[in-house]
């Protein structure tokens, strides 16, 4: 008997026994659905983290000189306390580093806090208040949709001008043109000179609720103690140049802080890679837990299929006897039952793939969770599903093939 024949027979059998087949499909179906679904969420997060999250927080070929890492995961209290004891980054530090870097870079000061912004009696709460220097917009790839960014002169002079995030501008001004109007931050009026293009959101949190004012404007009193910045942002043209800039920065800072060779850095240089470390730790757990759960579902599915196939062999003993009397060899019977088990599992896996992909797309549309279906997971789903069928089918099929034709024919 040819394989094609066996598959045709298997599909016939599945069609003939829909209910029983349905039950045996469920295990593999759930397993594969979960595999695709979970995989695409983790995969989506991965894509998101690498492309967007890290880029948004730090930027490509960019690093932040900070007192301590600002994105972290599972940090001890004692470590945290030691970070809090470190000296802050001073204006003088930022200037010294900027002057001494020999690699071509863009630099910007950056400080932030959260607070309300007011216009004409309307208050927008919990806005990110950012104090920065003029290069900040270039470094972070913030495109100005309306108006202009502030200039180097305005930055240096600490003029009370401000650039708004899109959502904040919408909230405060609606249909009004915000350019030239004054918003108040902690009672001090700032003239709006620009609005940044819409950034979208990160895990459902809007990235467009911020104001950027010159770092030396009065906003500095709101965000940090005098003479202190949260970060000096340094952007190089390439990865090697960034590494070189980091080395130079470290040297400058260590000498300014009078650190002995044996002492650790008491400042941090955050790259997007550093931010990703946090994510990698998390995703490693997900990549272990996810397949574990999928594995359990598939084992259960396999056992169900094996049971169904053993039942089928018992029920169809006479059929096996008839087939043997007509010239079916062991391998013909083996092939028939294996094909049936594999077909069951493959049908289950296919349904699982369709549902899993559907679920991922639904998640993507309906929730802020990023989901991206990876083609690899689909291939894996088919292989794993079919594999479960073969593994679960081997034992029943070999039992069927070894039946004695005389005994089998006598079976009622």
């Amino acid at each position: 008997m040819r394989i094609f024949e066996a598959i045709r027979l298997a599909l016939q059998q599945i069609r003939a026994q829909k209910l029983k087949s349905g039950f045996s499909l469920i295990g593999v179906f759930i397993g594969v659905t979960f595999l695709i679904g979970a995989w695409s969420i983790v995969n989506g997060m991965n894509v998101y983290m690498t492309d967007k999250f890290a880029g948004t927080l730090v930027g490509v070929n960019t690093f932040h000189l900070r007192r301590a890492p600002n994105v972290n995961f599972n940090v001890d209290d004692s470590v945290w306390r030691s970070w809090r004891r470190r000296p802050r980054i001073k204006f003088a530090d930022a200037n010294a580093v900027t002057e001494k870097l020999t690699v071509p870079v863009l630099t910007a000061w950056y400080s932030e806090d959260r607070g309300p912004v007011e216009f004409n009696g309307k208050v927008a709460k919990d806005i990110t208040l950012e104090g920065a220097t003029e290069r900040y917009f270039d470094i972070m790839n913030l495109t100005i949709a309306i108006g202009r960014p502030f200039t180097a002169e305005e930055s240096k002079a600490g003029v009370t001008v401000v650039v708004l995030g899109w959502d904040l501008a919408q909230k405060l001004f609606q249909d009004l043109n915000p350019i030239g109007r004054k918003v108040r931050i902690h009672g001090i009026p700032y003239r709006v000179i620009g609005v940044v293009e819409r950034q979208g959101n990160l895990f459902g949190i809007s990235l467009d609720k911020f104001v950027v004012a010159p770092a030396l404007s009065p906003i500095q009193r709101e965000v940090n103690p005098p003479g202190v910045v949260d970060a000096l942002i340094i952007k190089a043209n390439s990865e090697p140049e960034m590494r070189e800039a980091m080395d130079q920065t470290e040297a400058v800072m260590r000498s300014r802080r009078h650190l002995r060779p044996r002492q650790d850095d008491n400042f941090a240089m955050m790259t997007s890679e550093g931010v990703l470390d946090f994510w990698k730790k998390l995703s490693r757990i997900l990549y272990v837990v996810g397949p574990g759960l999928v594995g359990v579902a598939l084992v259960v599915g396999g056992i169900v299929i094996m049971n169904i196939m053993l039942m089928a062999v018992a029920e169809r003993t006479r059929e096996i006897g008839i087939r043997k009397s007509l010239g079916a060899r062991r391998r013909d019977i083996m092939r028939q039952f294996l094909a049936e088990a594999t077909a069951l599992a493959t049908v289950g896996a296919s349904l699982g793939i369709v549902t899993g992909v559907g679920l991922s797309l639904l998640l993507k549309v309906a929730t802020p969770l990023p989901a991206a279906v990876s083609p690899f997971s689909i291939v894996l789903g088919v292989i794993v599903g079919g594999g479960v069928g073969i593994v679960a089918g081997v034992y029943p099929a070999s039992r069927a093939s070894r039946l004695d034709p005389i005994t089998a024919l006598r079976q009622e």
Partner: protein, 243 residues
């Protein structure tokens, strides 16, 4: 009791001898005791013979039937089928012989209940490796030859007992076997239908088919040209009947 022709182990039988058994024996180990179902049966069946094997229950006729049908292997002795020694073949080789050389007709028809008449008849061709087109043609031809050309798509439960047995006969013949081996072929049929089936057998025999039929009914055995009677695992009588 007629003596079988003298036969030495290792000889190849004459070409017109389809079945040759030499001191064929089959023991069953029942745990506490060994049952000697066949105690050394030697006989020959020539091409185009029509033989009935009779005997009371326990005489060994089912065992002989299983051995002749290559469903079982003997404990001792030799069995030659159509010039080939089959008594010491492996399972798969026996399956091949069953497929090519033997057409079974059973008391209980043994059709696949969910398959159409046509598919049932196609089964031996599937295991013979015939292409779908050849299978369909030959199965349809076989069904037409037993008068069921208009019932090809019917399932067994949509057919009468006589029609089911005809489907089984068509299936038995579709691979053009050396022997048609029938085990109580009329056991589940009423007398009118039984005689119908016996007519089919008679026609097949007239066309040159070798027929071996196991039965315990004397009036059914009366249709055969030769009757072999077994008793206690040995041949008791072997008589040719007047035509």
């Amino acid at each position: 009791m007629s003596q079988p022709q003298e036969f030495r182990t290792g000889d190849t039988p004459l070409p017109d001898i389809i079945i040759l058994t030499h001191k064929l024996a089959r023991d069953y180990d029942m745990g506490s005791e060994i049952v000697h179902a066949l105690r050394g049966v030697s006989f020959q069946i020539r091409r185009n013979e029509y033989v009935a094997v009779m005997g009371p229950s326990g005489s060994g006729k089912s065992t002989l039937m299983n051995l002749i049908g290559c469903l079982d292997t003997p404990s001792a002795g030799e069995y030659w089928l159509n010039g080939q020694k089959v008594s010491d073949l492996s399972d798969d080789e026996l399956a091949h012989i069953r497929n090519k050389e033997i057409g079974f007709v059973f008391q209980t028809f043994n059709l696949l209940p969910r398959a159409s008449a046509l598919h049932n008849v196609e089964l031996p061709l599937i295991y013979a490796g015939a292409s779908a087109k050849v299978r369909r043609e030959r199965a349809a031809e076989a069904l037409a030859s037993v008068g069921l050309g208009d019932r090809m798509e019917h399932k067994p439960n949509e057919l009468s007992g006589g029609q089911r047995q005809r489907v089984a006969i068509a299936r038995a013949l579709v691979n053009r076997p050396s022997i048609l081996l029938a085990d109580e072929p009329t056991g589940n049929l009423d007398s009118a239908t039984s005689s119908e089936i016996m007519d089919v057998f008679a026609t097949l025999h007239d066309q040159g088919q070798t027929v071996v039929m196991v039965t315990h009914e004397a009036d059914i055995a009366a249709h055969a040209k030769r009757v072999v009677t077994l008793r206690d695992g040995l041949i008791a009588t072997d008589q040719a009947r007047a035509a």
